[in-house]
């Protein structure tokens, strides 16, 4: 078993645990590379099927290429696709810095979606190597009645025994990609031939390493226009993956506040 096989086997195990334990389960499909890998792994786990809804909280500010991708693959992959609009910025905590406030629209939309579908668990494609607060996450991570994350008192998690018992009104975030790195994701995309939004590939000396809303996501300088070139580029870089995501950098704790309040 090579490294990618081991990563895949672990993610498949996690997805199957979630599917077995939660009757009302949904997967967040942000259209980014990680969530496409996650959908691919679901099809591996369930033998070509995705037996829960793929959910998308639309800020209305995604790149046109992302919406085109969504239209195509929601059909091609046979997804039960559920899309909801995010509430307007005026409804969001005004004390947050501007980019974080903008991103928090998604948290609010997700809370409403969880209530609407009465979800017990939400599968999200975050990774430990992305960002420091995500590094502290559990694979099965409980959220309070208001979707908040109590990072000071997380449940124990070992021997692949996950938290599957929880009080009514609370829910579990399931993180099947937590143990992957950005490079792992690209190596797997290369091996499996997983389709992606074309914005990841360099055009005119720039590409996106991480995709979010148009107004708070910035490209990096790059000539990598194929998966192989991106892998070569990542092997040499020391620039953080989310350096182009404004909401992470507004203050020391901006992203931690977002996540404590229920952001992915």
């Amino acid at each position: 078993m090579n490294h990618l096989d081991a990563l895949e086997a672990q993610s498949v195990y996690i997805l199957r645990e979630a599917f077995n334990k939660f009757d009302r389960l949904g997967m967040l499909w942000s259209l980014g590379k990680d969530s496409n890998v996650m959908l691919w792994l679901a099809k591996k786990a369930f033998f070509g099927h995705v037996p829960f809804p793929a959910m998308f909280c639309d800020t209305g500010k995604k790149f046109p290429e992302m919406y085109a991708f969504q239209d195509r693959y929601a059909v091609e992959w046979g997804l039960n696709f559920i899309k909801r609009d995010c509430p307007p910025i005026e409804e969001i905590d005004p004390t947050l810095p501007p980019a974080a406030r903008s991103a928090a629209r998604k948290t609010e939309a997700l809370k409403r979606l969880i209530a609407e579908l009465d979800l017990q668990a939400v599968i999200a494609g975050i990774r430990r190597d992305e960002e420091a607060t995500r590094a502290k996450e559990r694979v099965f991570s409980p959220r309070g009645e208001n979707a908040e994350w109590d990072f000071r008192d997380q449940p124990p998690e070992f021997w692949d025994q996950f938290k599957t018992d929880f009080a009514p009104g609370t829910h579990i975030r399931v993180h099947p990609l937590l143990h992957w790195t950005e490079l792992d994701i690209w190596l797997y995309i290369q091996r499996e031939g997983i389709p992606l939004v074309p914005l990841y590939f360099a055009r005119d000396g720039k590409r996106y390493r991480s995709l979010g809303d148009m107004d708070i996501t910035h490209p990096v300088a790059s000539d990598a226009d194929t998966v192989a070139k991106i892998i070569a580029e990542l092997r040499g870089t020391r620039v953080a993956e989310r350096s182009g995501r404004a909401m992470d950098h507004e203050s020391e704790d901006a992203f931690e506040r977002l996540r404590s309040a229920g952001y992915m």
Binding site: Y13, R16, K43, F47, T133, P155, H179, R235
Partner: protein, 640 residues
Amino acid sequence: MTTALNQPAPAPAAAAASTDLAPLKLVIVGHVDHGKSTLIGRLLHDTGALPDGKAEAVKAMSDRRGMPMEWAFVLDALQAERDQGITIDTTQIFFKTATRPYVIIDAPGHKEFLKNMVSGAASADAAILVVDAKDGVQEQTRRHGYILHLLGLEQVVVAVNKMDLVDYDQGRFEAVAAEVRAYLISMGIAPVHILPVSARHGDGLAATSDRMPWFKGPPLIAALDDLPAKPLPVDLPLRFPIQDIYKFDDRRILAGRIESGRLTVGDALLFSPTNARARVKSIEAWAIDGPVTSASAGQSIGITLDDQLFVERGHVASHATEPPVETNVFRARIFWLGRAPMEVGRRYKLKLATMEHPVEVQAIERVIEVGDLSERPADRIERNEVGEVILRARATLALDPFTDNPKLGRFVLIDGYDMAGGGLVSMEGFPDQRQRTAPTSQNITAVEHRVTTDARWSANGHKSGILWLTGLSGAGKSTLAVELEQALFRKGWQAYVLDGDNIRFGLSADLGFAPEDRAENIRRVGEVAALFARAGVLVITAFISPYREDRDRARAVAPELFHEVHVKADLAICEGRDPKGLYKKARTGEIAEFTGISAPYEEPDSPDLEVDTGALSLQESVARLLGYVEANFGGNGNGR
């Protein structure tokens, strides 16, 4: 004195091929303030793993707080931690050397955060135990060392840190090294290396330090690069715990992860604890070229069988020659994380591989003081303590002693909503119960019915099962059973009573009332009841069945069909009724070993239904039973 910012960060380890290797998972443990986070921050810097600008950001953070360069801030990314100055949770950080990639798990040193340390250390390939050169071995040094031992982590590298605070003194290092080595060896851990370092100043990490020319061993990073990864248990006997059964299309796929051993298409599998057998017809996969013909430990797979057996989550497939142990009672070494202590008589949910069962703490044998490994008797195990206990389940469990197969030999206990502890299985002093149910005859093969139980339920218009009435003689079991049978028959149900005395006239005519005869009688009744139930009949049994273990064994024959009903009445009431004049004979000694008088009756702990015939009239009691039957067996089962 050097601060890290004066040193240029080395380029990222170039070796392209190394990034395709599985990373070595490294847990870093040790007493609070012995410098774990600082060591990690420094390791990241010295291996070039920090993103551009991070070292400068840490410097700025340190300056803002009026501190010298504080490497611990690299990891302590959360606001709360920076303010408290201690790490509060497990953090995983990736870095690579020229040899291979690593994942470091930073485990907290604060005592009450044991759960986070276990969460980190359980998945590690190796550990760095950090010990302060000035303080030497402290309480959490010992505690963490013991947890590493409990988790089966054998590769331990000891970093004697803060050598700068003892002037890089060889004598002090050797004294601390001897102290640590002695403790680890007393637990059976032989440390791979004991190394002097100063994380703050970078001595002894990437290169040997010229401040410690007396030390002839390798620097820390070279020592880590020498550690082998933990091998997957491909050469142990096959254990394939069923995780789920999928019927998304015309395939019936048994999904799960191979925990140990190998599996090949065509293999004959034995499922425990049902003892059902079938062959692997195919290994299913999606988006893979060509058919998959075999799989091994670590792989998450799906298989189809040549035979449509009753299999469900929690059953364990193995090869017939090397099956897991079957038992409902076992010994375990426990580390307790629960807010409420573990106590004798308490029930918890056990999760072992994919199986879940309620278990009861039958006994707490001892608590182990991890500081000096002394033992003391106790009736409870408090949070953060380690102890040895005996656990009893109702159901038969398929498991392995931890020393034979760690994957099937470890479990967690759930108290309410929370994971309250972990444990390792030992079968010392307990027999494998497999032979009790395994047929003595060798040349027999189970025939699979073409008519399924589901089909029988559809035809009958109700589900079948076993209503197991247990209670004292005179409690009203037989009376209730025949009343219920008659009421159900009038409604058009297939129902049949198996009564104690009737069975003893025939099937069990060779048995008396000694405990082993009672056990055999109940075993026979359990088997017959399961046959009736599988034939679509609702079986009502009326037996005193005084021993919990015997009832549990009857349940184990067909656990999915078994419903325990406690027909309850005080001994005084039963003796007052004495319909067969038996109590009178027992009192005079004419009957020996009479339940309630001269033999014990073990009440059910949590029966599916309790009917108190001391408080309810006969009509009320029958109505109670009928209500239960309609709620649980009504409908044809298609709605499941």
